[in-house]
Symmetry: C2
Subunit: 380 residues, 2 copies
């Protein structure tokens, strides 16, 4: 194998596939990046047990030459130092040459690296996905869906199924739900041209979605999603992102969401975030980061928290309206801030059904199909 | 005590004195910031066993009002959360009020923090320095002196005296030396109007100089330095920075510097840094980060390193000139890069006196009174 390639597209590809490579892998070959060169393109692959990422560099695209010379071949290169080596090479053109003994020679300007390659035949074969169950989605929309739900997955392995985001497609409606059993994030959107497609109980590991979100650029290009029994593939023109799915049945979450409420509060989201954020400064000194919210009449709320050692904080915040019963409620400040930030609306509606019942936060504009639920903490 | 103060100068002052506050202090009162308000100004003090920093906020300066209202008094405020609290307050004007029971009330907009204060009488009294042994130096010049020497202090406590920078003033010449016994950095400058002042064996802890360098802004204003037997004070208009000095005698270092050489190399510093930096990528995989330099004729040098697991790297670099004997020498890449960066000259002269003798790096322009010495490593 030999390629003469521009630094920039090579660097971008390496950085993409590196996101799948774990330094703690127990399979030695997976600590490397697989390079496959054919006449038209060079493909890089990185993988761990959960995620596989393939990134393709075309020889030429939109009149820009990425690769000046290709002699087809394959090799696996140690990933650990590769990004730094490529970044620090003196010249923008880089020659990578592999001999029959799998010695890799990387040359650029007056610098020459000789690296030990590994046998590409030992690299695990990737499953070929049936892509019949596929649908398209705009990338910036997908990124928003991930951002609005993925933070609520569980980080504990007590119930592994909760470390993923549940995805459901039915009647042209795509729904995402994440919960760690203390809070829940739910988001729905309408998808066009998927009349014949439906699935349920697809649970994508939260970590996979975080990495996918990092790799995808915020564009209006579309991406294809294909689902099988145990894997999901996200595909753009140059990128394949394959993740395993979590085993097991995702709990039925719709009944957790209260359908009535005793107190309805409409409030400016940014003001509320900032007040809770300040109160949380002292609350964080305790292990549990609890702040208290108390309604005062039909207009004001008081946000408080205290730390026995440091002191206490008290804020009086004017809402837009409070309807229904008075309420005193305590909750985890981080959960509340995460929920408000995910909704990303100027005004939010918060529906309480008592100090010990989960409360629901929605954007003021009903059209946005997003809902955040937070379970309060008993302090009274 | 009561002050009504603008956020920006308060924040800047807090951040300055925080640099002296250690979260691991064994003296509880030193985990706080001392506030002292008189009619004209508010002074903040932070301290640990090595450094004391005082920052003064004038009531009004250059027509800008920093403090709108002062009722004199003193208090010690827990430092841990204070920067975050001040930064996140809703309004740019902040009222800090202390009652007779040392309760601190911080109010801004609709937010109110009540913090537990500590008794300012318990705060250690700062020594009053005799400032007769004082001289002035331009701040940007002082920062450069620190940058060019301080990196070479020892980080090991085996010989505590080597964790500091040795400073000497004699005959209008100020000299700084730092060494960890593997490398040495030396810098001299001429100071005006200090005819009657001289000192030797003043050793400032490297950590103090790092913090001082962080606090000082890169301006051409002057700063006053005062030296006593066991302390050194750096004073600007608004800032007092007091550091203890290290006990013990600093070793005589001048005889370590070879006064002859067998090989003299003139080379572009940036090219050499980049070559060694690349070679170091693989060398770092070993514990010792060793690269090898070999002259090839009167013009070229080869830089190499290898890691048994990853591979090897080889660079051929053209110098400006090589005079004298051929040389093969190995050294710690980090030491060499630190030295070259500190010199900050387009071209450098490197004087070798054999593969096992320390070598000396100087800027090509002799006028710059800087010298870096690196001890090679035996590999042949």
């Amino acid at each position: 194998m030999k390629i003469l390639i521009e630094r920039e597209p090579l660097m971008a590809s390496i950085q993409n596939v590196m996101k799948a490579i774990s330094s703690k892998t127990t399979i030695p070959i997976l600590s490397g990046i697989k390079f496959e060169a054919n006449e038209q393109e060079v493909k890089l692959t990185g993988s761990n047990s959960d995620i596989t990422i393939e990134s393709v560099i075309s020889r030429e695209e939109d009149g820009i030459v990425n690769i000046h010379e290709i002699i087809p071949g394959q090799i696996v290169v140690q990933a650990k130092f590769l990004p730094e080596i490529i970044r620090k090479l003196p010249d923008n053109q880089i020659e990578i040459q592999v001999d029959d003994d799998m010695n890799i020679n990387i040359r650029s300007g007056h610098a020459e690296f000789k690296l030990n390659g590994q046998d590409p035949e030992e690299y695990p074969q990737l499953p070929v996905l049936q892509t019949e169950n596929s649908f398209d989605i705009q990338i910036d929309l997908l990124k928003m869906l991930i951002r609005q739900t993925n933070f609520a997955v569980s980080t504990s392995e007590t119930r592994p199924i909760l470390t993923g985001v549940h995805i459901k497609l039915d009647n042209n409606e795509l729904g995402l739900v994440a919960t760690d059993s203390h809070r829940l994030a739910s988001r729905k959107i309408t998808i066009d041209q998927v009349e014949n497609l439906s699935f349920n109980n697809v649970v994508i590991p939260g970590k996979s979605l975080s990495e996918l979100n990092k790799i995808l650029e915020d564009t209006q290009d579309t991406l294809q999603i294909s689902v099988t029994d145990n894997q999901i593939l996200f595909r753009t023109k140059h990128l394949y992102f394959l993740s395993r799915l979590l085993d097991g049945n995702y709990p039925e979450t719709s009944r957790l969401i209260p359908d009535q409420s005793k107190t309805v509060m409409k409030v400016n989201s940014k003001d509320l975030i900032q007040s809770i954020d300040r109160a949380s400064l002292l609350a964080k000194d305790n292990r549990n980061n609890i702040v208290k919210l108390v309604t005062q009449g039909q207009q004001n709320i008081q946000i408080t928290s205290h730390s026995p050692e440091i002191g206490q904080v008290e804020e009086l915040l004017q809402t837009i309206s409070i309807e229904g019963e008075e309420i005193k409620i305590s909750f985890n400040a981080k959960y509340m801030i995460d929920a408000l930030r995910a909704i990303d609306s100027e005004q939010v509606l918060i529906n309480f059904t008592g100090a010990m019942r989960p409360f629901v936060i929605r954007p003021e504009e009903e059209s946005e199909q997003i809902l955040q639920l937070v379970t309060p903490v008993r302090t009274y």
